[in-house]
């Protein structure tokens, strides 16, 4: 996975998050450089999902700053970020291959990339089936295959390993490793050790909302 | 006395005029009262919650 745009990193300064008037975390500062993997840990409600959504621009930033270093003037978060939340965004009535070809077309990726992306999670032989018949783990893999399809330097993953078996976790680990090797960055909320070298850990429980 | 009856009769339009005024008064009073009572209720809730927080702190 090559990064299309040179991005020297992501800098977060004194970020705060308020959800429905409740303070989730505050004064969060960190930096992610190309090739970095940042693992978010913390108990439920400590704001792992909220932080990822803020970074993706899907949640309001109450206070603080998120800076994309080295991004051009006309580059927005959408050009840099690939977000995989805990919902798979899979449409049951569509075929497996149709599901992915839609995202290819919508994100401006050539249709020839669809087959290899499915193969990354060994879904190639299921392409003709309606996605509705897939198991939870297979749906998850279909959702994650967008990572292999769409080329963005910064991945934001929210519990990507949920309902995956060991083989698929290994496949995800391989994909993430090659993304990091080519200068990409990953921020992921996950409890599973993916065996990635040089993973840094950000513990959100110390910034908790309990200190309101 | 006669002039008062005449006044209330309003040239035969009395029922319409007085009911329109009465409805307006009733509705406007009701609105003001409802708003005021809501304000009272919120004030009470705030002081209750603050008192509880105070008790916990001490």
């Amino acid at each position: 996975m090559t990064t299309s745009e040179p991005l020297t990193g992501l800098t977060v300064t004194k970020l705060c998050c308020v959800r429905g008037e409740r303070q989730v975390f505050r004064d969060l500062s960190f930096h992610v450089a190309p090739g970095d993997m940042l693992s978010l840990v913390g108990p439920n409600g400590s704001g792992k999902s909220s932080l990822l959504r803020q970074l993706a621009g899907l949640l309001e930033v109450t206070d603080g700053e998120i800076n994309l270093d080295g991004a051009g003037e006309d580059q927005t978060v959408a050009d840099v970020v690939l977000y995989a939340g805990h919902l798979d965004a899979v449409k049951a009535p569509l075929r497996v291959s149709e599901n992915l070809s839609f995202w290819a077309a919508f994100y401006g990726v050539s249709a020839t990339q669809v087959e290899p992306a499915l193969e990354a999670f060994s879904l190639g032989h299921l392409g003709h089936l309606p996605a509705g018949v897939l198991s939870a783990g297979q749906k998850r893999r279909l959702g994650l295959s967008r990572l292999a399809l769409i080329d963005r330097p910064l991945w934001l993953l929210d519990e990507p390993t949920v309902s995956l078996d060991t083989a698929s976790i290994a496949a995800l680990g391989d994909l993430m490793r090659s993304h990091l090797k080519t200068g990409g960055s990953i921020i992921a909320a996950t409890h599973v050790d993916l065996g990635l070298e040089g993973t840094r850990v950000l513990d959100l429980s110390s910034n908790g909302g309990a200190s309101l | 006395m006669d002039s008062w009856t005449e006044f209330f009769n309003m040239g035969g339009y009395g029922p319409y005029i007085w009911s329109s005024f009465l409805i307006a008064i009733a509705v406007m009073t009701g609105l003001a009262l409802q708003s005021w009572m809501d304000l009272k209720k919120q004030k009470r809730l705030v002081s209750e919650l603050e008192a509880r927080a105070e008790r916990k702190r001490s």
Binding site: A56, G57, L58, L59, E60, V77, A78, D79, V81, Y83, G85, H86, L87, D88, A89, V90, K91, P93, L94, E98, F102, W103, A105, F106, Y107, G108, G143, R146 | -
Partner: protein, 224 residues
């Protein structure tokens, strides 16, 4: 533009695979219209007089029926996040959604309208003006409806809310649409048909701006 057509294609495909897409709306249209004579009696002259109005009212209701899934379904399975994050402007995404809603609801109803017109004793020479007016006016229903659908994303019982929000905004479409449809039936002085058709077109064009802009603004808020 590729992204736009990809979304339209996907939406139409989804609509045809789940519950026959336009089929449900046409069925609803049919059933509402066949209830009317039970309410007002089988007097054919009376039915002729109210046919254009009834057809338009039924069109509004059928269009409303399918609006609540427009963004709600995508919000529930996480698709909406990815649509918002995509490089395509959100306004175009809303427009694509409205276009697909029209293709799967508005267009089938316009095609079915003459058949249902016959049931209400609408004379044959009134069919063409009716279809023309519906063809011009129905896109406005989908475009304005998209704003209502976007506003009620994530709201429980959102379908009911959409109707409350959107129906007042349908008033101009109904007025100009019915007027353009009945011009051929009732002799009116002046070229009223053409005038109301032009006004109907103007409303549709205005909705072409209001729909995507308002819908995108509402979606940005709804996702956050």
């Amino acid at each position: 533009m590729n992204a736009f057509f990809a979304l339209v294609q996907r939406e139409v495909r989804l609509a045809t695979r789940v519950g026959g897409g336009g089929g449900m709306a046409v069925f609803f249209f049919l059933i509402v219209l066949s209830i009317v004579p039970f309410g007002i009696g089988p007097d054919l002259n009376l039915l002729t007089r109210i046919a254009p109005g009834m057809l338009w009212v039924a069109l509004l209701l059928s269009a409303l029926l399918t609006l609540d899934r427009l963004f709600q379904a995508d919000q529930e399975d996480g698709t909406l996040d990815l649509l918002v994050l995509a490089p395509q402007p959100l306004e175009l995404t809303v427009l694509a959604k409205a276009v697909s809603h029209w293709l799967t609801t508005g267009l089938p109803l316009v095609i079915a309208a003459p058949i249902l017109g016959l049931m209400l004793n609408l004379p044959l020479d009134g069919m063409l003006p009716l279809m023309g007016a519906m063809l011009i006016g129905s896109p406005a229903l989908s475009l304005l409806g998209a704003v209502g659908a976007a506003l009620s994303v994530g709201v429980r019982r959102g379908g009911l809310l959409i109707s409350l929000l959107v129906l007042p905004f349908y008033v101009p479409v109904l007025i100009f649409g019915v007027s353009a449809s009945r011009a051929a039936l009732v002799a009116v002085p002046g070229d009223l048909g053409g005038q109301s058709l032009a006004l109907l077109g103007a409303v549709s064009l205005a909705s072409l701006v209001v729909g995507p802009v308002g819908g995108a603004a509402a979606l940005r808020v709804a996702v956050k």
